[in-house]
C-alpha cells in the first residue's frame, strides 16, 4: 500500500483538483434564487440540479460559501430524536450523509463514532428510554445503556458516584457521527457548479421584490434580479431576511458558543453529550476536542465569546473527564442559533407565494443539511411540500400544532 501510494504520487497525468468557477456577472433573471450559500442553500441548489434538472439557479451569499453557521457548528450527525416526525426526518439525513462522500466525489470525512447522551437524573433516564423506544419503533438504532456498558463504550468517562451529577445511564446511538462541516458545503458547491448552478459570493440581498402577494425578484448590492422562486436559507439572519419579505417568524436568534482544545492523540471515540450538564464533546480527525454547550441566555446578533460560557462548560467537561484539566483551549467562536419554541425547524411555504423558507435551525441544522436540501429542492420543483417535512411547516404555529422536540441539543430534561 505505501509503495502504491508512492507510485501514484510520482505518476503524472492526474486530473487537476476541482475548483469553483469564478463569480460570473448576475443575469437579469433566474428560475430559482437561493439566498444563503451555506450547507443548506448549496445542498438545495445541488439537488435542484441533480434530481429535478433545474439549473437556472443562483446562490447568493453576502459573505463566502459556508462562512456562516455551516462553519460554526460542532458537526454532530445523529437521528436519535424524540418525536416520530423528527426521527424520520433526521434518519433520512443520516442515510444521505453515509453516502455523501461518494455521491459528491468529495471527502466530507464522515466518521461514525457512536453517540452517548448521558442521563444524570431519573427524569433523564426516563427520557432516554422514551427516545430509545421511539427510535427502535422507527428502525433507528438506539438503546438505553447503564454504567457497566458505558464503561465498556467509553472507559475514559468519569463514572464515579463522587461527583455532583453521577451518570445513571445513557442513550446509546451507534450511528452517531461527525463530519468535516466545511467539506460538506464545498462538496455541494462543486457538485452544484458542475451542473450549471451559479454561485455568487459577496452578493448581499437588500430587499425582496413582491407583487400581488408573490415574490418576483430580489434586490442585491449588485443590482436587481427577477426570479421565479426564492428560497431563503440564512440561519442566524432568518428573521431579518423574512422581514424584507414582509412576514415574521417564531424565532429568537441567540448566540451558541463552542470551542476546541489543542490537538491530542486520539483517545475519545464516541461523541459524548449531556443534556443535564449542557455539554457535548467529540474528538475531531485532527485530534482537537470539539466542545459546545447551551445557548446564551439572551439574544445578540454578534459572534462574541464570553468567559462565563467557558467557565460553565469547562466545569462540566472536567466533571466528565477530570484528566483534561491541563488541556488548553485553542479556538473559540459563536454561531447564531435561530431558536424556535418547539426546538424544530421551519421549512416550506410562507405567506408570500413562491417564497420558501428554510429556517429555525437552532442547534440542529448541520445534521439536517442533506435531507433539508433534498426535500426543499423537491418542494420548489414540484410545488408540493413532501410528507417528511410537512410537520415543520410555518403555519403549524397558527394551528397550535407544534412538534415539541425535546431531543434537540442543549435542551435540558
Amino acid at each position: 500500500m505505501p509503495f502504491g501510494l508512492l507510485k501514484y504520487g510520482f505518476r503524472g497525468g492526474r486530473l487537476p483538483a476541482r475548483r469553483l468557477p469564478a463569480r460570473p456577472e448576475l443575469k437579469p433573471r433566474y428560475d430559482v434564487v437561493v439566498i444563503g450559500g451555506g450547507g443548506h442553500g448549496l445542498a438545495t441548489a445541488y439537488y435542484l440540479a441533480r434530481d429535478h434538472g433545474i439549473t437556472d439557479v443562483a446562490v447568493l451569499d453576502k459573505g463566502y460559501l459556508g462562512g456562516g453557521n455551516t462553519a460554526r457548528n460542532t458537526a454532530i450527525i445523529r437521528a436519535n430524536y424524540l418525536t416520530p416526525d423528527s426521527v424520520r426526518f433526521y434518519d433520512e439525513s443520516v442515510g444521505l450523509y453515509r453516502e455523501l462522500s461518494n455521491e459528491l466525489d468529495y471527502n466530507v470525512m464522515y466518521s461514525e463514532r457512536g453517540h452517548l447522551t448521558l442521563a444524570h437524573t431519573d427524569a433523564a433516564v426516563r427520557t432516554a428510554r422514551w427516545r430509545a423506544e421511539v427510535n427502535k419503533h422507527l428502525g433507528v438504532n438506539s438503546e438505553l445503556v447503564f454504567p457497566d456498558e458505558i464503561r465498556r463504550l467509553c472507559p475514559q468517562l468519569n463514572l464515579s458516584d463522587e461527583v455532583r451529577y453521577p451518570i445513571l445511564g445513557a442513550l446509546y446511538h451507534p450511528p452517531g457521527a461527525i463530519a468535516r462541516h466545511d467539506a460538506v458545503a464545498w462538496g455541494y458547491a462543486l457538485g452544484a457548479a458542475d451542473r450549471g448552478v451559479e454561485l455568487h459570493q459577496k452578493t448581499e440581498v437588500t430587499g425582496i421584490v413582491r407583487a400581488n402577494g408573490r415574490v418576483t425578484g430580489v434586490e442585491t448590492d449588485r443590482g436587481r434580479i427577477a426570479c421565479g422562486k426564492v428560497v431563503q436559507a440564512v440561519a442566524g439572519a432568518s428573521s431579518l431576511v423574512a422581514g424584507m419579505a414582509g412576514f415574521r417568524l417564531p424565532i429568537r436568534t441567540v448566540p451558541l458558543q463552542a470551542c476546541v482544545s489543542h490537538p491530542l492523540k486520539p483517545f475519545l471515540d464516541p461523541i459524548i453529550v449531556s443534556g443535564s450538564l449542557h455539554v457535548y464533546v467529540s474528538q475531531s480527525a485532527r485530534g482537537e476536542l470539539v466542545m459546545g454547550g447551551a445557548t446564551d441566555p439572551y439574544g445578540v446578533y454578534q459572534n462574541r465569546s464570553t468567559l462565563e460560557f467557558k467557565e460553565g462548560l469547562m466545569a462540566h467537561i472536567l466533571e466528565l473527564f477530570p484528566f483534561l484539566a491541563e488541556v488548553k483551549v485553542l479556538r473559540q467562536w459563536a454561531g447564531m442559533a435561530d431558536m424556535t419554541p418547539d426546538f424544530s425547524p421551519v421549512m416550506g411555504e410562507t405567506p408570500v407565494e413562491n417564497y420558501y423558507i428554510d429556517a429555525g435551525w437552532g442547534t440542529w441544522g448541520f445534521k439536517a443539511t442533506p435531507v433539508c436540501g433534498k426535500r426543499m429542492a423537491e418542494t420548489l420543483a414540484t410545488g408540493r411540500v413532501p410528507e417528511l417535512i410537512e410537520p415543520f411547516r410555518l403555519s403549524r404555529f397558527a394551528e397550535f400544532r407544534q412538534v415539541g422536540e425535546k431531543g434537540a441539543a442543549s435542551v435540558g430534561h
Binding site: S239, P250, G299, V300, E399
Partner: protein, 105 residues
C-alpha cells in the same frame, strides 16, 4: 461579567437577570381571534438594532424594561414598567358573556 443597571437595585451582574422577550402589546385574550393570539404568543420581530425588552431581576422578583442594541449588546436605558404601562386596563368580558361579571368590580 456584563453589568445590567436595574432601576430598582442599581448595577448588578447580568447573570442575576432573565430576559423576558420583546415588549409587545398583548391582544385581549377574550376578544381576539386564534390567529391574533398565535401571532402574539409565537412570532417575534427578532430584529438587529435597538430593541425594547422585558427583563427580570430574579433575586428581587422585579420586572422592568430595558432598551438594548441587539447588535452590540449595549444596554442603552432601563426603566420601570410603569413608565410605559401607566393606565389601568378595564376588564372586557368575552363575547356572549353577561356584562358586569367576572372581574369582581
Amino acid at each position: 461579567m456584563k453589568i445590567m443597571p436595574c432601576p430598582l437595585n442599581g448595577p448588578r451582574n447580568i447573570s442575576e437577570f432573565v430576559c423576558g422577550g420583546e415588549v409587545v402589546v398583548a391582544p385581549e385574550p377574550n376578544l381576539c381571534s386564534d390567529a391574533e393570539w398565535a401571532d402574539y404568543v409565537f412570532l417575534h420581530d427578532n430584529q438587529a438594532g435597538v430593541v425594547r425588552e422585558w427583563w427580570f431581576h430574579v433575586p428581587t422578583a422585579y420586572w422592568f424594561i430595558a432598551e438594548r442594541d441587539s447588535r452590540s449588546d449595549e444596554i442603552l436605558r432601563t426603566y420601570p414598567a410603569s413608565e410605559l404601562f401607566n393606565k389601568r386596563q378595564a376588564y372586557r368580558p368575552p363575547k356572549g358573556e353577561a356584562k358586569g361579571t367576572g372581574d369582581g368590580s
